[in-house]
């Protein structure tokens, strides 16, 4: 029994690292632009379909398709920012307005995918890595999960390096803590907004390519579920706090993989319950400051 739990925790750590990475883009965009990208899960799904499509027609492995997908998402992010988000940010209640607008976008993406690919479940090939199993502490572990976990760590570290050691990244961090002060110091807000939105979507698209291996398959209406999972993670870790996201992802990954071992048919329901409970007890997240009112 105890070895079962140890196994679940070990898997949970690797999956949790992926979850942290998956939610990072959402948190980055919220932290800087203060808008909620409700279509987050749909971008993940879209990127996974993109990788599937590239594999289907050209048999490129997901790692190669990343080279095509990331620039596409980066530039779509810029286009989306200048086309839609910029106008939304100017509206009176920008948080709620953009929230409803992204809800609409999410529905549109979902149905477009449905029209294009149909409702069937798709998956990506497992054989792009040289080995399929490794043994850690005596447990046979699927190598792809470990690979994705380590890849996520690398990607998270690169993102933090960008935030801490480049001029634009430091401007981004300054914007997260205080928009007004950042403006007073002469930071080009519009540029930082646009870049953050584009980088957020790029990170999301990278996570999206690996999503079929974590969620098992791709289907058009998985977006809502993924958005809610990503939300649970960033709310556990604190909205607008990138380091908290890593923490939230690990907690979530471990809890879900333990539940998955014992009561698999209820696993996703626990996602929703965890979110609702955390949001009611401490909506600012475990690492966040208090924001609940009345």
């Amino acid at each position: 029994m105890s070895s079962l739990i140890a196994y679940a925790i070990l898997t949970g750590i690797f999956i949790g690292l992926y979850y942290s990475f998956m939610a990072l883009g959402l948190n980055l965009i919220f932290g800087v632009l203060r808008i909620v990208n409700l279509a987050h899960g749909d971008f993940i799904m879209l990127s996974a379909y993109f990788a599937f499509w590239i594999y289907f027609f050209y048999s490129f492995s997901p790692l190669i398709s990343l080279l095509i997908i990331t620039p596409v998402f980066f530039f779509s992010g810029l286009a989306l920012y200048y086309g839609i988000v910029k106008k939304l940010l100017k509206s009176k209640d920008s948080e709620m307005t953009s929230f409803i607008a992204f809800f609409g976008l999410s529905m549109a993406i979902e149905s477009l995918t449905f029209i294009e690919f149909g409702a069937s479940y798709r998956s990506l090939p497992l054989n792009f890595l040289p080995i399929s199993y490794v043994t850690i502490f005596g447990f046979p572990m699927s190598f792809i999960i470990i690979f994705i976990g380590l890849f996520s760590v690398a990607a998270i570290l690169i993102t933090f390096f960008y935030l801490n050691n480049t001029k634009l990244g430091r401007s981004t961090k300054a914007m997260m803590s205080s928009k007004e002060t950042a403006m007073a110091y002469g930071i080009n807000i519009s540029l930082v907004f646009a870049l953050t939105f584009a980088i957020g979507l790029t990170i999301t698209s990278i996570a999206g390519v690996f999503s079929p291996y974590i969620f098992g398959s791709i289907y058009p209406n998985e977006g809502v579920l993924i958005t809610i999972i990503a939300f649970s993670i960033i709310i556990i870790g604190g909205l607008g706090n990138p380091i908290g996201t890593v923490f939230g992802g690990l907690i979530y990954g471990i809890i879900i993989s333990i539940i998955d071992v014992y009561v698999p048919s209820w696993a996703y329901m626990f996602t929703f319950i965890i979110l609702v409970v955390v949001i009611i007890i401490k909506p600012s997240g475990i690492l966040g400051v208090n924001i609940r009112e009345i």
Binding site: V36, L88, K92, M96, E110, M269, F272, E293
Partner: protein
């Protein structure tokens, strides 16, 4: 004089719906369309009580509607009479809204997301295989043993009239005024001596009550339903679009939104539902970009009139 004008338009709408009820089926023989229209108008107005008046945006609103249908279906399954089954539907929906009460302490996007998540949780519980003996699980429930479309049609009309009157009363009362002040500024409302948590709680429960009743009627009318048929996020998309397009917080806005948009939806054809999710999704996006207050804005800008 504004008072009388508003009363007039409310009476006008009620008369319109009564005429609609009798004459509609002569022009268009699809009764399901009229029943759904009346139920959607009810659902949109009940959504308006919480969103329009208090500003809370429940993305999981379809949970109340779905539980209404399920309460009715479970009642029928276990041999209750129609009246009790109907009440069970309302009871489940109101019960759920009471469980969700603590969520109202959250604001803005937090509330909306928490509500969406709880909707998904309700969906997973209802459609779970292990609850098949009660809820029918993924296989759904049948209410065909009490199928009586004409009665449902009549009750839908009565329910719609009741909620129009209720919305009017709320709008005119101090209660409605308090709700609006909660929407605009909670802290100031508290300082003015408004019992914020009590008032918004009451609004929430009234809203869930009508949504549950509409859901129970829908479940009754369908005769057979499975989880996706009544517990679908499509309902949330519909009512949010209808309400925002017509103008939230008004009495006529949600009704006009439903009549126009659902009319168009049905006219163009329901067979390609994915295209409609696409069109409605883009429509919401465009509304938020250019007309965040819907028709209300157009009336104000070009005709200098307030939508009652």
């Amino acid at each position: 004089m504004k008072f009388e004008k508003e009363l007039k338009s409310v009476l006008g709408v009620i008369v319109f719906f009564i005429i609609f009820y009798f004459l509609g089926p002569y022009f268009y023989s699809n009764q399901a369309f009229f029943v759904t229209m009346l139920l959607f108008a009810t659902l949109t107005l009940s959504f308006n009580i919480i969103y329009g008046f208090t500003g809370y945006l429940p993305f999981g609103y379809a949970a109340f509607f779905g539980l209404g249908a399920y309460g009715f279906g479970i009642g029928v399954k276990f041999g209750l009479n129609i009246m009790l089954s109907f009440l069970l539907g309302i009871l489940l929906s109101v019960g759920l809204s009471v469980i969700f009460l603590p969520m109202l302490r959250l604001k803005g996007a937090y509330f909306a997301i928490a509500n969406l998540a709880s909707f998904e949780a309700v969906y997973y519980i209802i459609s779970n295989q292990s609850l098949t003996p009660i809820t029918g699980g993924p296989y759904g429930l049948s209410t065909s043993s009490v199928f009586s479309p004409n009665i449902v049609y009549l009750i839908s009309l009565i329910l719609l009239i009741v909620i129009i009157v209720v919305t009017y009363i709320i709008k005119k009362s101090n209660f409605g005024l308090a709700l609006k002040s909660i929407r605009d500024d909670q802290t100031t409302s508290i300082l003015s001596g408004i019992n914020v948590s009590l008032y918004r709680g009451i609004a929430w429960i009234i809203s869930a009550l009508f949504a549950g009743a509409a859901g129970a009627l829908y479940g009754w009318y369908l005769g057979f339903f499975y989880p996706e048929a009544v517990l679908s996020i499509t309902f949330t998309i519909f009512i949010i679009t209808f309400t925002i397009f017509g103008g939230s917080g008004t009495i006529l806005g949600p009704i006009i939104g439903t009549l126009l948009l659902y009319g168009i939806y049905d006219m163009v054809g329901v067979s390609f539902s994915e295209y409609f999710t696409l069109i409605f999704g883009l429509f919401i996006l465009i509304l938020m970009l250019f007309l965040p207050n819907g028709l209300k804005d157009i009336l104000k800008k070009y005709f200098r009139r307030e939508l009652p």
